[in-house]
């Protein structure tokens, strides 16, 4: 077995890579939410001075990358890789942003799990000795995602209470090999498997993804020998309120007690009592904004969170598959971040 592999899905880094710096650019609703103050930049509207929403999302990711590079105090030419992903067909936000960076680029698609898919892969590249510094970025934009997956922005429809609101935000982080700087350490990565528990309703992504999150958590705990209380905080990516409830139920049935240390980024990013987002947030930008903008700042040796497990969840549907009546497969990737 490969020396850094400790189980069927989990790897442990010999010299844990660090997160040198992270940046978040978020939309107006996200800025108005409870975590608005922790983002590097909150843009006043969904267009960002661009002609189309697609260009606006691209600009959002660009700004997040610039914030991350500035905070890591490194230059674009120091990067060995740029790993990025988004929700749009052919990953246009990521690929068009990779053009001006002129850095070796790998595009990733894991739907909303891409934030941790890219972070985990960046850590593997660094600990494997293939890279010193890697930039990762993910984004989502409410208007572009709604257009691609659902309805036009101005179309009037009544949403289900368990429907989620696609987050307009981009998050980026610079991962560096051990010894290349200071920051929260990435110690373990548990890569998820695709799980399909038969959910077909494209508005019920939280319920579709909840079993994938618990599946990956169980694999992580089994293979690392850790229990849930090893972590000060365990967050899932974008299950939102109802998905979180389902995750707790599935965990309970599988004999896993998560308790108070479990949170969900889709619940944290909005204030559901005054923001009209139904169940909560979703999208690649959701976990990226909450983790890179808010949670990483709390990971410190003496702080409230010394050990953080992020389980980013992705619903792997396309408009074609659900129109053709297929189930919504889901995936979740876990990354352990420690002070």
């Amino acid at each position: 077995m490969a020396s850094k592999r400790i189980g069927a899905q989990t790897v442990r880094f010999a010299s844990p890579p660090v997160i040198l710096g992270a940046g978040v650019a978020a939309g107006p609703m996200e800025g108005d939410g409870p975590l608005g103050g922790s983002f590097d930049e909150v843009v006043p509207d969904l267009y960002l001075g661009q002609q189309t929403y697609e260009k606006a999302e691209r600009e959002l990711m660009k700004r997040a990358c610039h914030h991350a590079l500035a905070k890591a105090r490194i230059d674009v030419k120091d990067l060995n890789y740029f790993l990025a992903g988004d929700l749009l067909n052919q990953l246009i936000t990521s690929t068009f942003n990779a053009l001006p960076l002129q850095t070796p680029f790998l595009g990733l698609y894991g739907a909303c799990s891409t934030s941790m898919e890219s972070l985990g892969l960046a850590a593997m590249l660094c600990d494997g000795g293939f890279a010193d510094k890697v930039l990762v970025a993910t984004s989502s934009h409410n208007a572009t995602a709604e257009r691609q997956y659902r309805y036009p922005v101005e179309y009037g429809s009544q949403r289900r209470p368990y429907a989620q609101w696609t987050v307009t935000a981009a998050g980026a982080a610079v991962v560096a090999a051990a010894g290349q700087g200071e920051g929260p350490r990435i110690t373990h990565v548990t890569t998820g498997k695709v799980v399909d528990l038969g959910i077909k309703d494209p508005f019920d992504q939280g319920a579709a993804m909840a079993p994938a999150a618990i599946d990956t958590m169980l694999a992580h705990f089994n293979e690392t020998g850790r229990s849930a209380d090893y972590y000060d905080l365990i967050v899932t990516g974008d299950l939102a309120s109802f998905g979180k409830e389902m995750a707790l139920e599935v965990a309970r049935r599988a004999g896993l007690e998560l308790g108070d240390r479990y949170e969900d980024c889709g619940v944290m990013i909005y204030d559901r009592s005054r923001q009209d987002v139904h169940s909560g947030g979703s999208g690649c930008g959701c976990s990226a904004a909450v983790v890179f903008g808010h949670l990483l700042k709390q990971v410190s040796a003496g702080g409230r969170v010394r050990r953080l497990l992020v389980v980013a969840t992705g619903a792997l549907l396309s408009p074609t598959t659900f129109q053709q009546g297929e189930n919504i497969p889901a995936i979740a990737h876990a990354v352990a971040i420690e002070a």
Binding site: Q51, T52, R147, Y151, P152, V153, E154, Y155, G156, S157, Q158, R159, R160, P161, Y162, K193, V195, D196, L197, G198, I199, D204, A207, P211, I214, D215, L218, A219, N222, F242, E245, M246, E249, V250, R253, A254, G255, L256, D276, S279, N327
Partner: protein, 164 residues
């Protein structure tokens, strides 16, 4: 789903289809239900208001243009379409519809919204392929099934009324 701490193992041994059925049942039992009664009341009120405005327009055209009440229906419908289109373009329709539901979707205002929203959405893709090609993306189904239904009803009506 009941397991020994290992969901994966359960999944393989328990058989996927049975587990999917069990999970779907669990989800439909636990998921928050839409407030059906409140939605129906709102749809009734909003739909009623739309109809009052429509009737008002019909009376208006009947008097102003000096035409019969039946003839005044056509410009009144056009007026309702205009109102729906304007509300969509100004960005109010989606917010109103979120509250009103079927009350705004079922009348011709909903049809106007589905066309204008799509045209706005795709205008960046050009006049021909963007607006022209995509405008009926949502409304197309209404037209197709509207025409088919009208055809069938027309035939039944003709047969029933002895008009042959």
């Amino acid at each position: 789903l009941e397991g020994d701490g290992n969901l994966v193992k359960v999944k393989q041994e328990g058989g996927l289809p049975s587990q999917q059925a069990a999970y779907s049942q669990l989800v439909s039992r636990m998921e928050p239900k839409p407030p059906r009664l409140a939605n129906a009341v709102r749809a009734f009120l909003a739909g009623g208001i739309v109809c009052i405005v429509g009737e008002g327009l019909t009376d208006f055209f009947e008097r102003v243009l000096n035409i019969s009440h039946k003839e005044a229906g056509n410009p009144a419908v056009a007026g309702m379409i205009l109102i729906g289109a304007l509300l969509t373009g100004m960005g109010h329709f989606d917010k109103l519809a979120r509250w009103a539901g079927a009350g705004l979707a079922v009348p011709v205002t909903g049809f106007a919204n589905s066309m204008v929203a799509t045209a706005l959405e795709f205008k960046q893709e050009g006049l021909v392929y963007g607006i022209g090609g995509r405008m009926f993306q949502l409304a197309g189904a209404v037209i197709v099934f509207g025409v088919v239904t009208a055809f069938v009803v027309g035939i039944v009506y003709a047969l029933a009324s002895g008009y042959w």
